[in-house]
């Protein structure tokens, strides 16, 4: 009797262990659960955007600025970006104030147009979209949030800069199933919600700048992704409207003659 009981206990223990191991193993194989799988998902997203020859997307974005008083102000804008590799890009932006701007890379020149000021600036385009995005942001000092995502080498760029990624959860809270990831670069914490399925596109991105005063955030909500866009060539042509004036990029002036004792610039009201 005692021998029989012992035998049953061993079988039950074995079955329990097998069950636990099976469940654990199946959990580990769920896509995106482990940090390495989360990183792989993030890079698949970047790779998809980087390797898509033509695309368009609308981005509702907002960012905080911390005022001298310590209070935060959120600034909103809507951007529509149309990209045609290797060298064309158009970005229309409308700020919460109603001010609208346009940026066009036509393959030869970069044009930036400010509708309310009726002014535009132009600079020679240094190459394809990749080189031009870097030049536009780094050298001309212009804003193009999340520009790194639109490089053809976006996956390599992210892989080199992202220090850690973790999987948070799978959610449908944004309207369709998405994987919620968090991660860090050297100086920015980020959250990204990536669509579940064959096209792992970002639905939402939140960047936090932890070392900056007040830890401001940049938030972007993506909609109307179109990876089969067929934009007309005319979309990448900028013809200055009548009664507009051409002005230099501010950085071009600053680089032409850096001011030794500090500098100042006054902004136009927008």
């Amino acid at each position: 009797m005692r021998r029989q009981t012992s035998w049953k206990v061993w079988v039950a223990a074995f079955l329990c262990a097998a069950f636990v191991l099976t469940v654990g193993s199946s959990d580990a194989q769920t896509p995106g659960q482990s940090p390495s799988a989360a990183r792989a998902l993030l890079l698949r997203m970047a790779d998809l955007i980087g390797k898509t020859p033509r695309l368009s997307v609308t981005v509702h974005s907002a960012y905080d600025t911390v005022q001298a008083s310590g209070q935060k102000v959120e600034w909103n804008e809507i951007r529509t970006l149309t990209l045609s590799r290797p060298d064309r890009l158009r970005m229309e932006a409308e700020k919460s104030s109603g001010a609208r701007t346009l940026v066009v890379f036509d393959g030869k020149e970069i044009s930036a147009f400010d509708e309310s000021s009726r002014a535009y600036a132009r600079a020679a385009q240094p190459g394809g979209v990749d080189d031009t995005l870097v030049y536009f942001v780094r050298d001309l000092g212009m804003r193009l949030p999340l520009a790194a995502l639109f490089l053809s080498r976006a996956a390599i760029e992210l892989d080199g800069r992202v220090r850690s990624v973790e999987y948070v959860e799978k959610t449908g809270i944004l309207g369709s199933p998405a994987h919620h990831l968090i991660g860090r670069t050297d100086s920015v914490n980020f959250q990204v919600w990536i669509s579940d399925g064959e096209q792992p596109l970002p639905q939402r991105i939140v960047l936090t700048y932890p070392a900056a005063r007040g830890q401001p955030e940049f938030r972007a909500q993506f909609s109307a992704w179109n990876l089969t866009a067929r934009p007309a060539d005319s979309l990448f042509t900028f013809t200055p409207p009548a009664n507009t004036s051409k002005i230099p990029f501010a950085t071009a002036l600053a680089q032409a003659a850096p001011r030794p004792g500090g500098a100042s610039a006054k902004k136009g009201v927008k």
Partner: protein, 208 residues
């Protein structure tokens, strides 16, 4: 004594109401002044600039720039000590400095979207002798539009606000294609910055 009572009461009441009026006027004037100041700057006086504006995956507000400065300082100190040593050591130092410089360039290459350019654009200014540079940067007037005047597919949801001058009533002096604006004794020229039109402090226009 009784005859003096009512005149004193009236005089006191008058004085109090006069002081009250003056105080209210002063408050209103200060309020109006605040309003004027607010109207003269972007977003009703609130700053649009900050690390989050770039939407970049790197930030200048991190420890990285400080580390770079320390690295540069260290390099300079080392170079100073190294000067007094043998030529071979100087040569090694040179290659070390070169390596540091390369690291600096690598950092900037990797963190190209950290908003460094935004900061330059927000604080850029001209000094004497650069008016020519500004003039050369501004080319011929744009041709009349051959396509519809609006560059946007849809009309603006809200009417775009007019661009503001650098001060309440600047003196504008067009010179060639450049319009100089004078506020007090300071001159400005228009330029395209990260958030649209900016006025960059400049040298006076030629011949002024």
């Amino acid at each position: 004594m009784t005859r003096l009572f009512w005149p004193i009461v009236c005089a006191t009441g008058l004085t109090v109401s006069l002081i009250g009026t003056i105080a209210n006027d002063g408050h209103a004037q200060r309020g109006a002044e605040r309003g004027r100041r607010a109207a003269g700057s972007a977003g009703g006086g609130f700053s649009r600039e900050g690390p989050a504006a770039s939407g970049g995956l790197s930030s200048r507000s991190s420890g990285a720039p400080a580390q770079q400065t320390r690295a540069r300082d260290t390099g300079e100190n080392q170079a100073a000590r190294q000067d007094s040593r043998a030529g071979a050591q100087a040569s090694r130092q040179q290659s070390r400095s070169s390596a540091q410089s390369n690291r600096q360039e690598m950092y900037e290459d990797e963190h190209w979207d950290e908003g460094k350019g935004l900061a330059v654009a927000a604080t850029g200014a001209l000094v004497a002798g650069t008016a020519a540079a500004a003039a050369s940067a501004v080319a011929a007037p744009p041709p009349a539009a051959a396509v519809p005047s609006s560059q946007f597919a849809t009309p603006a949801a809200t009417p775009p606000p007019p661009a503001a001058a650098p001060c309440a009533s600047p003196t504008s002096v067009p010179v060639g294609e450049v319009t100089y604006s004078k506020c007090g004794s300071t001159w400005y020229t228009q330029a395209y910055g990260a958030n649209g039109l900016v006025y960059v402090q400049s040298a006076p226009p030629p011949g002024s």
